[in-house]
Symmetry: C2
Subunit: 280 residues, 2 copies
């Protein structure tokens, strides 16, 4: 599995790069971004925080707007930022912003016309980490975070893969996709009518079934325009409490759904993950 | 002079807002962004750092990509980020990215078809500060900074207006526009053939004529793709040295012309300006 450099720029003494590669899981060419801190020693290997982005995003939004490199450089954590869906002219798409390209929802589609390419779950869990760990100076210590649709992806992927991540966090996640318009539309399209399959990708359901107690941090803005209809953090909070799951959820007065919210609290999230990623 | 709110979002406990207003100097509607830190006391007034952006930018690039709000909030400095030219369907434009809309070069045009609207110098020096100081909780202590074309704007405007700014800085500025393709093209179009008029907007010339010794910091990346042909920091450095002007210029190995460079060193620039803006 090889990667091809698209762009490289220096940031906080480390390197912010964009790569492309042929994804066998997704059956198309994909791009991802990676930030690697400056290496103090030549054989230094960094733990990795995977960042899953939200609807309409690519690997560039978080790279450019979150300001995460400063604290990642200071702590010695690599950042890996995948795209949000398979891409290309022969990949199925939809006119709406919340289905198709840019809206993969981190599931493996079982339905036409999505089935052949839309396997973002396997891509994030299996293929991308193998690619990253085979090509860059990183360790196999992984954490995962994301925003909105990507917050949903981070929470569900961490909950479904015990032992794979040291910690999980999310900004403004879609907490209960089975019960919101974004999730209902995407799950019906990608997974079909059988809602028992939907449960496998719903953080509010999965938190009640989890065998592992992973450190989990969720940040939510109280002025988020999607809070009531789409995100439903209270459902996750109630499910976590019922299950005795140690979810730390913070509600921040005044903040909305934008990257300005993420930029404000990304230092806290990186320090949170650093406590586990860097622990001996 | 009134302003109309376009958007408002919370950032680092402060507010990041976009406003529009009718500019009498430019004869068109203009937008600008402003970041105001959270007010500890109700009558608190913040000093202002004006940020001038580079070619093709609007008020949004610096707002979204520089990560400046964190340190501005911590220090208690407001950020004002104007657009880079007059705008609108009846404002002259050019097909190239380095002339016309998005490329005002912070001068007052004397030539057709630019003359009626392209008065960015007066807008930045006079109209915008009056508007900001009349509508927001800011003081009359001002500093100025910018990137590339905006670095040229910051340096020349500060050098031409003794007493108006406490300090000036620039990232990757066009230091000697009379002697580079970007500057020659823009000055010929906006100012005409008489090069004595060009000298009035060339930092390398002005630094030798300056009566005031303003704290001045310039940051330049050594991997900047425009370094040799367009930016020419060595010309400014030599002129400052010949004039005994206390320019602090830093050359950073590995860094390019992008906002990743700005994000890496914006904290240093804000602390530099803070030393003067916040001095009693």
């Amino acid at each position: 599995m090889s990667v091809e450099l698209v762009s490289k720029t220096q940031s906080f003494d480390g390197s912010q790069c964009q790569y492309r590669h042929q994804s066998s899981v997704l059956g198309c060419e994909m791009r991802f971004s990676i930030f690697l801190p400056s290496q103090a020693e030549k054989d230094q290997r960094f733990p990795v925080l995977y960042w899953l982005s939200g609807l309409t995003c690519t690997d560039e939004n978080f790279s450019q707007k979150a300001g995460a490199q400063r604290m990642a450089a200071e702590l010695g954590i690599a950042l890996v930022i995948p795209d949000t869906s398979p891409r290309g002219d022969d990949v199925a798409d939809d006119e709406s912003y919340d289905l198709g390209q840019g809206a993969g929802f981190y599931v493996n589609a079982t339905q036409a016309p999505w089935k052949p390419h839309y396997r973002m779950y396997d891509y994030i869990v299996e293929e991308l980490p193998k690619l990253v760990e085979g090509n860059f100076p990183v360790s196999e210590r992984r954490a995962i975070s994301g925003h909105s649709m990507g917050g949903h992806g981070a929470l569900t992927i961490a909950l479904k893969n015990p032992g794979r991540y040291t910690s999980v966090s999310a900004f403004s996640p879609i907490c209960n996709p089975m019960a919101c318009p974004w999730g209902e539309k995407a799950f019906a399209a990608y997974l079909g009518a059988d809602k028992t399959l939907w449960e496998e990708h719903d953080a509010t359901v999965l938190v009640g079934r989890a065998s592992e107690r992973l450190p989990m941090l969720v940040s939510q803005g109280e002025e988020d325009q999607f809070l009531e209809e789409q995100l439903k953090p209270n459902a996750l909070e109630a499910a976590a409490e019922a299950a005795g799951y140690p979810l730390k959820i913070e509600h921040h007065a005044g903040y909305d759904h934008s990257y300005y919210f993420i930029a404000t609290f990304i230092e806290q999230h990186l320090r949170f993950h650093g406590d586990y990623l860097l622990a001996h």
